[in-house]
């Protein structure tokens, strides 16, 4: 069975969308440029995804540079403090030297913060925050509380532990984004198999969530973990050895299938003793 992944390159014009019903409007996602009335041109290389039910179409690709977008949870580093806010860096890539964009975290953007009770962050502190404002003309703004409840919900300064980088796609997978594409793909496969009159079979790749590594690690080790959409991961545990083990497993599992990931973790745990 062949895996047909629709890889498209910038400049390609997409064929007209096959539509079950006429006159449905599609939402155009990232990586595509729309030229009216109905031409779509690819502007980022990657895999084309079409969700017929939700009527959305977008390009899926992995990159190292993070572009802030609203409501993303990210891990940022405090650079300095000004009169009413902290200036933070949003590091993104996992290359040896991370590149970074700047963001503003107001002093009062913490749960129940007042001028007197605000948490004091120093240069080099790490915060888990949500992007409350992303706009191409100004630096993004961050918040350390949940927009709905006003509670911290895990946002705030991350104390101790270790921070490392993975690719943006990996971070998204760890956060469970892969589920969407996975379901889509399974549906497509089934449809294709149905057309050919064959029985659909899972080859193991389609149903991989991409986060088996975390599931497996979580079963035997105790640690805290925060994943930022900007490709930074924070791990904390009582023992540096455990932390390092978690880090290495995650970093090495990027291109592995679910089964392989579980195998990797088992071996690592054995080595850890």
């Amino acid at each position: 069975m062949s895996l047909v992944v629709q890889v498209r390159f910038p400049g390609e014009t997409l064929p007209p969308l096959e539509d079950e019903k006429k006159n449905t409007t599609f939402k155009v996602g990232p990586g595509l440029t729309h030229i009216s009335p109905s031409t779509l041109i690819v502007s980022r290389a990657g895999e084309l995804n079409i969700d017929q039910r939700k009527h959305t179409i977008w390009m899926e690709s992995n990159s190292k540079r993070y572009v802030a977008s609203q409501n993303d949870a990210i891990i940022a580093t405090v650079l300095r403090s000004t009169a009413d806010s902290y200036i933070c860096a949003i590091p993104s890539s996992n290359s040896p030297v991370p590149s970074a964009s700047q963001a503003v975290l107001p002093h009062l953007a913490f749960p129940q913060a007042t001028k007197k009770t605000r948490p004091v962050l120093h240069q080099g502190s790490v915060v888990y925050a949500r992007i409350s404002l992303a706009n191409k003309h100004i630096d993004p703004e961050l918040e350390c509380y949940d927009a709905d409840s006003g509670k911290s919900e895990g946002f705030g300064e991350l104390k101790g532990g270790f921070v490392f980088g993975v690719s943006l796609g990996m971070a998204r997978r760890l956060l469970g984004d892969a589920k969407k594409t996975r379901l889509l793909r399974v549906r497509e496969r089934k449809a294709e198999a149905g057309r050919k009159g064959e029985e659909y079979q899972d080859v193991g790749v389609d149903m991989s969530s991409g986060r088996e590594v975390l599931e497996e690690l979580g079963e035997s080790l105790s640690f805290e973990l925060a994943v930022g959409r900007n490709g930074r991961i924070w791990v904390h545990s009582g023992d540096p050895k455990t932390t390092l083990c978690v880090m290495r497993c995650i970093q090495q599992s990027e291109f592995l299938t679910g089964k392989e990931q579980r195998q990797l973790v088992k071996e690592a745990l054995k080595a850890l003793g």
Partner: protein, 293 residues
């Protein structure tokens, strides 16, 4: 302007904690190098060194020039380095930073001033013509230990390089092409290898081949250049944390072991490359024969 971000508080304290327990982030021992990968190009004199994520390319080339008037019997050997944005976004093109000056000075002292290359053998006609050997070092990716990697790259490229053969008859100098006569290797007197030590926790811990993250956190550093005969070519400890004399001597002994290992790897890779070349040449010859037939 892209700037290197300092490591976060969390990273800093974690790495130091781990070092205190003799643990490194990438799981190495304190005194072990990352895996050294050394490849040669199709042409002579191109060496590509990978040390973990650090990658350095050295290219050696030769040309015939007039020797310096004050040294008529010596050839010319130059090493050029440039830290560009290719290696790290923190490096700007065109501007010479202090880091770059120190780096090039170190490589220069380690290789050129220790007379690794016999410049007298480069003389063709005294005061008239000599070979100028030029080693260009390109930094492709920066993850620490630039000095060590570039030193390996340069010495490997120098050993790999072959210059065209030259014959002198009276005043007449003939440079034979590579096909005309077998090109000759450079006369290498010894193979210096740099080992950089990084000091942490007031000198309690000393690391070999630190990554960029570890370099950013170190309190002091020292680069020792040795050859496998146990000759010190250069030591540079420019300030930083003060270290006990005995510790320094211990570092020197560790360096000697490392130098032996690295020199052996370089030698092995050179031999492998030479063997591969012979095989390829034979293959080409047999092909040519076939065509003729």
């Amino acid at each position: 302007m892209p700037r290197e971000i300092d490591p976060t508080i969390n990273e800093k304290s974690f790495i130091l904690d781990a070092l205190n327990q003799k643990l490194r982030i990438d799981g190495r021992d304190l005194d072990s190098f990352r895996e050294l990968e050394l490849n040669f190009g199709d042409d002579y004199g191109l060496a590509d060194v990978q040390l973990g994520k650090t990658r350095v390319l050295a290219r050696v080339s030769a040309e015939v020039v007039k020797p310096f008037t004050d040294r008529p019997f010596d050839g010319i050997f130059t090493i050029t380095t440039e830290l560009g944005p290719m290696a790290s976004p923190a490096f700007e093109p065109g501007r010479q930073t202090e880091q770059e000056v120190l780096l090039s000075r170190l490589i220069e002292k380690a290789i050129r001033r220790s007379n690794a290359l016999d410049t007298e053998s480069l003389c063709i006609v005294a005061g008239q013509k000599c070979w100028q050997i030029r080693a260009d070092v390109h930094f492709l990716s920066h993850d620490g230990a630039l000095v060590d990697a570039s030193c390996i790259a340069v010495v490997a490229a120098l050993q790999h390089f072959r210059r065209p053969d030259v014959s002198v008859e009276g005043e007449k100098v003939t440079i034979h092409t590579m096909t005309e006569r077998i090109p000759v290797p450079l006369s290498i007197l010894h193979v210096p290898i740099c080992v950089t030590f990084s000091f942490y926790l007031d000198g309690e811990v000393c690391l070999v081949d630190a990554t960029l993250q570890e370099e950013q956190l170190r309190q002091g550093d020292m680069t020792i250049t040795l050859n496998k005969f146990g000759e010190l070519c250069q030591i540079a400890k420019a300030g930083g944390l003060a270290i006990n004399g005995l510790n320094l001597l211990r570092c020197a002994k560790i360096a000697l072991v490392k130098v032996g290992e690295i020199a052996a790897t370089v030698q092995r890779r050179l031999e492998e490359d030479a063997a591969a070349r012979v095989r390829r040449d034979n293959l080409l010859e047999s092909k040519a024969d076939n065509e003729r037939a």
